[in-house]
Symmetry: C2
Subunit: 726 residues, 2 copies
């Protein structure tokens, strides 16, 4: 069985990675040391760079670069009109009746769940011609950011310099829990403390949440994801990646305080435009050594996992169209993610890009030393980060496999772990619990456990088998070790092959039934330990290893890095506070930029816009073969639609995954487009913003109206948008 | 640039694998030690096990088990009727006019090369209604085994006990080259020395070779690979995996000495049947430690590579149907290979299967010790193998990346390396050359270099980028290392990212042009070193590392293992020579077995046959969706065809990949089927034969005739087979 004294074992399994030797940087890095400079710009936001906080907006930059006055009312309009989708995307209110616009690819997983074998809305698209036909979605929450409070001093006050990393971590977690709970109780809002600047600041974000979200309009996936994977991250593009939902409250359409109106014509070439949305994650301020860890350890591991999952789901899809439909959005996300990460990794692998990163870093630290903000001789934050990386490297695989469930990729396992931890954590004081089981999170955690979504045991078997295989592969048979000391490995497989073990666990669990889940959730720990459900027993068995490695990770990796990065962030802010923005955290940010074409690497001039007639041409160039098979109705209505109307456009806005579905607005706050992608050149934006060729890609506001009006005859939506404008 | 003093570097990069610690086997292995037995059977061929040599056939077993007299004439008939396809499959002459039958999936890559955008024979299938319409194939050679000579004593005579492993290896290579060349010169045949019993025996195989091979009939891929990947390795099956070619000599149909006639009705349930074909590779006699190396090092590496390639080609396929067609056979092979290896690995991962392997091994060695054929105290062959595995583990990645070209997956690189080595090796005495550049091989090596097959540079870019990425990933940035000693890694990327480097190399080479290749092939080494072709320069640059690691592998891994396995094989033969067969070597073998259904793991009774009407039902069960979309003509002719005729059948024959296209014959040597697959349970046959559920899957002889007659109206083929029978 599972041994609980896992800490010693953790140390024995590791991958040999560059971080175990102190990574040496390219020669270029050394050269950078010799460059003298009076002032550096690269580590500060320049050009159209920046994912700005709404409570620390780039007013000065906009004034300087665009002679634009960023007003508080404008900020309030964008903030209150913006929503975040819990399945990982952005959106905005576009009418006083709670109409919400987002991307088709954000809507996809919701549309999928509304589909059946008889009615495949992914394929056919959907339009509710009457309000009663609006379809209520499952497993979704939309949130609108009501207000932000800077709680940095309260959080920091809880931590004293005498504390160990572990104590500091607990103290901070505890105060964050309390602040969230107090704010939630007082306001009735959903509150979370967001860690910004890698721990340099803590802001309390309070959201109004919506759970009754109904589908109003979605086009066919063939045009929502026109050009498919081959066109993904490419430009020029011709994509109608748009969907509309309506938010309800108490069974009636919700009337938002603020919403965005449609622009009459869209934006002109070179015009200033804004994006208000939720960029997911960037690593703009990671140390070069941290980036090497990502290049050599994290990304290779992660992409291997993506590839395995992609192949698994592609195989499953081939067994029938109903199965293909059931996993299409997940497969889309996987492929999107893989192509995206290939682009990110390509940046990290490029010595030229790394040279810029290294020299920026070198300039930042040497300037900080010069200005006596960093001590050149002492073991500074950079060394702390390096040491944390070494530790991370040692526990990386076990952390991924056990705590992040890479070894147990199964919804039923996830449910079992959720139940085990709900029962275990509920018996502890709120501050001592694992984050996701604190009072503020517990309801939504339980809701996930009790999701009525149907679980396909055949797919479960494929996933669990493959992930147990990954476990066996990455631990290289340690499972089966029987050394003289009587150690038996982790015992995860219990003496069976991955396939046999997976089949056994799935045959022995009833957690696919909601009442069985509820019953287990209400058990005491003692009762749970007596349960005859095999998956529960399995989750109980692997939990000690998972908890141990999570504790190690949090106290010896995450916390030291947080403190060191916080120190670096403070240093950076002291150098010039107004030009500093934090890494993306899937919270609301403002980006500014302009409409601008570019010249490709091979010298081709790429205009800012494409047109509707370009979409027809693109389909015909590919003989209408999938994924270029525009739906029939496009050809039926080709005469009616105005082909000259712009369809997609590119801008210099600084965005990243999570911004999907964000509104693109002009200086008056009017919608001129809908963000849905970045080009390949923008992907290295994960760690460095560049303006030469990196572009955000949007659906054009005029194209949306022209097409849903003339091709889809979706009059309710068009009229609602029209009325909202007047 | 590339450093030539690579040996020291080789040692620094390795993966941490189980072989670095002496692998400990499951507890079960220990238990096996305590089992006493007077005689063991498992390590000898029992039941229907065995891939038998034609010059050492299982006469005694057939007499004992089936009361069947295996005659020399029968063996001669099967041997002379069987052919091997150079693209990796088997086939047989089925008429006196040189008609050859094989699988559609063996024909696929040839059919693909005969296709154009306008005429997609993969999709539409092909039937030459007249002889003039038979289509000449590119890049293919068929060989028929004319005779075998046992040359073990000559080869062994060249090796003395004083020789180092390296000297022994060279001596053996040298005498093998000489024997091959002498035999080829004397007979005009194509001759190769085959290493059997892992070096226990050496046999000289002399082949008659055919290069003029023309396509006569191939069905649509939709029915040739009916059920696609989901049905692959499954049973029941409904597959018309058959194609016909004709061999020509001097522009006229070839008249083979012997050919197989069609059986009137096929085989009955339980009837004895034979397979004559070319099983590719098995590891039936590997030590348990060797199998652990495969489980923990080789397979995880190899499957990662398969998955990467599969995803790359799937992406490429999505960019247009002409691209999909161009790589469909390669993608088929990759998917087939992945599913196959998943099955093999599942066996290695099963403690139960491993227990059997371990206890068999234990019984073999303890019996051998008891009979004084092995010395219990001395460091025996098992330890030699273990030490070689440790060494292999150290150089594994560099050997794969540099010598096996995993880092440079590009046809143009392969051509460049071929040219570089042709030029370099031609200047050496025949015996000292690398195997593939010896006189007997040089012509076919040059032919491959000068293949007129069109090279798509876009696909080349994808492949080379991805494989340079794999290189960077597996060497974990060592490329960019610049330590104090001034070492610069291998310099493969020359200071660029994988994508940049690949683009640069491809832009700088003209080797896609045949005349450029020819010009370079005729250069001296000095001229080659002055060539301005970047790919040639690159191949020159990486060659020293590749050669060094190949030499290390051959002398410190392959040769010690060969000698140790040879010793073990001799021991095994001394215990009972008539019951021993060698591992598969993609040379002609005979397997016997019987027609037999089975009971599945879940208790279902699976009958031996399926029928033609079952194919229609199977398609309808899947709503005719791909890959279950039977071609139109099947429905047009559904009334004409007799649905009761058997379509596929299973037998207990011991086969493996490479047997695809082998004839299945009855005791009279008449064709009763055509091998095309094994079921999932048969895949662990790579290292252990089991009879309970493992089955070979064939197309039924009667089904082939009924369908190509009634559905395809391929009268020429039907009549030719019919006339041959009478």
């Amino acid at each position: 069985m599972i041994r609980t004294d896992s800490a010693s074992k953790l140390k024995t399994i590791q991958i040999q990675a560059s971080a175990t030797r102190r990574p040496t940087l390219p020669a270029l890095y050394i050269i950078a040391l010799t460059i003298t400079c009076f002032w550096f710009t690269s580590n500060f936001a320049t050009a159209d760079e920046g994912m700005w906080l709404f409570n620390s907006p780039p007013k000065q930059q906009l004034k300087e670069r665009y002679n634009y006055e960023l007003t508080d009312d404008f900020l309030d309009l964008l903030q209150k009109s913006s929503v975040r989708f819990s399945n990982g995307g952005s959106g905005s209110f576009v009418s006083p009746q709670g109409l919400v616009m987002t991307n088709h690819h954000v809507a996809l997983s919701l549309v999928e769940k509304l589909s059946t074998t008889e009615r495949d809305l992914v394929k056919s698209g959907y339009y509710a011609a009457r309000q009663e036909e609006e379809l209520k979605c499952r497993d979704i929450e939309l949130v609108m950011l009501d207000h932000i409070v800077n709680v940095t001093s309260q959080v920091n006050a809880a931590v004293t310099s005498e504390m160990t990393f572990e104590q500091a971590q607990n103290a901070r977690r505890s105060v964050m829990s309390r602040l969230e709970k107090e704010a939630a109780d007082a306001s009735g809002l959903k509150c979370e403390v967001v860690t910004l600047f890698q721990g340099g600041q803590y802001h309390l974000y309070c959201y109004k949440a919506f759970k009754d979200v109904r589908l109003v309009f979605a086009p066919e996936v063939a045009v929502g994801f026109f050009g498919g994977d081959p066109d993904n991250f490419e430009y020029p593009r011709y994509n109608l990646d748009v969907s509309f939902f309506r938010v309800y409250e108490n069974g009636e359409p919700y009337h938002p305080d603020r919403y965005l109106k449609w622009s009459e014509r869209g934006a002109a070439d070179g015009e200033l435009v804004f994006v208000s949305g939720h960029p997911g994650r960037t690593n703009r301020f990671d140390t070069p050594e941290h980036l090497l860890f990502q290049r050599d350890v994290y990304y290779p591991y992660y992409m291997n996992k993506l590839r395995r999952n992609e192949i698994l789901l592609a195989d499953y899809s081939e067994t029938g169209s109903e199965f293909a439909r059931a996993v299409s959005s997940e497969l889309f996300r996987l492929r999107n993610s893989r192509k995206n990460r290939t682009g990110i990794l390509a940046g990290l692998q490029s010595p030229a890009v790394f040279e810029k990163i290294s020299s920026d870093w070198q300039q930042f630290t040497s300037t900080a030393v010069e200005k006596k903000l960093l001590d050149a001789d002492a073991e500074g934050p950079e060394t702390t980060i390096y040491n944390a990386l070494v530790r991370w490297n040692e526990i990386f695989l076990i952390h991924e496999l056990f705590e992040n469930q890479a070894a147990f990729d199964s919804r039923l396992f996830k449910i079992a772990r959720g139940i085990v931890r709900c029962v275990t954590e509920s018996g502890k004081p709120n501050e001592s619990r694992l984050r996701e089981y604190r009072e503020t999170e517990l309801a939504s955690t339980k809701e996930k456990i009790l999701s009525p979504a149907v679980i396909d045991k055949r797919l479960e078997l494929l996933r669990l088998t493959d992930s147990l295989n990954l476990y066996l592969e990455l631990t290289q048979g340690a499972e089966y070790d029987d050394d003289e000391s009587g150690e038996e490995g982790y015992g995860v497989l219990g003496g069976f092959s991955p396939g046999e073990r997976a089949a056994q666990l799935l045959a022995g669990t009833q957690l696919d039934k909601l009442d069985v889940r509820t019953r287990h959730l209400n058990m005491s720990l003692e009762e749970l330990e007596e349960s005859d459900d095999l998956m529960i027993q399995f989750a109980l068995g692997v939990d000690p290893v998972a908890r141990d490695v999570r504790a190690l990770y949090e106290t010896e990796v995450a916390e030291p890095m947080r403190q060191a990065y916080a120190e670096l962030a403070k240093t950076r802010m002291r150098l010039d506070p107004r030009r500093t923005y934090p890494d993306a955290t899937f919270t609301l940010r403002l980006s500014y930029g302009k409409v601008a074409g570019y010249t490709s690497a091979s010298g081709e001039s790429i205009p800012a816009w494409t047109t509707i007639s370009g979409a027809y041409q693109h389909a015909r160039d590919h003989r209408l073969e999938p994924p270029y098979d525009l739906p029939e109705r496009w050809f039926d209505n080709e005469e009616q639609v105005n082909g000259e109307v712009p369809l997609n456009l590119v801008t210099t806005n600084d965005i990243i995954g999570g911004n999907s579905g964000s509104p693109l607005v002009n200086g008056k706050g009017e919608i001129v487009g809908l963000i849905f992608d970045g080009n390949l050149e923008s992907l290295s934006g994960n760690f460095v913003y560049t303006e030469q060729r990196a572009r955000a890609v949007s659906v054009h506001s005029s194209g949306i109206i022209e097409i849903i009006n003339r091709i889809y005859d979706a009059r309710r939506v068009v009229e609602e948008i029209d009325q909202a404008r007047n």
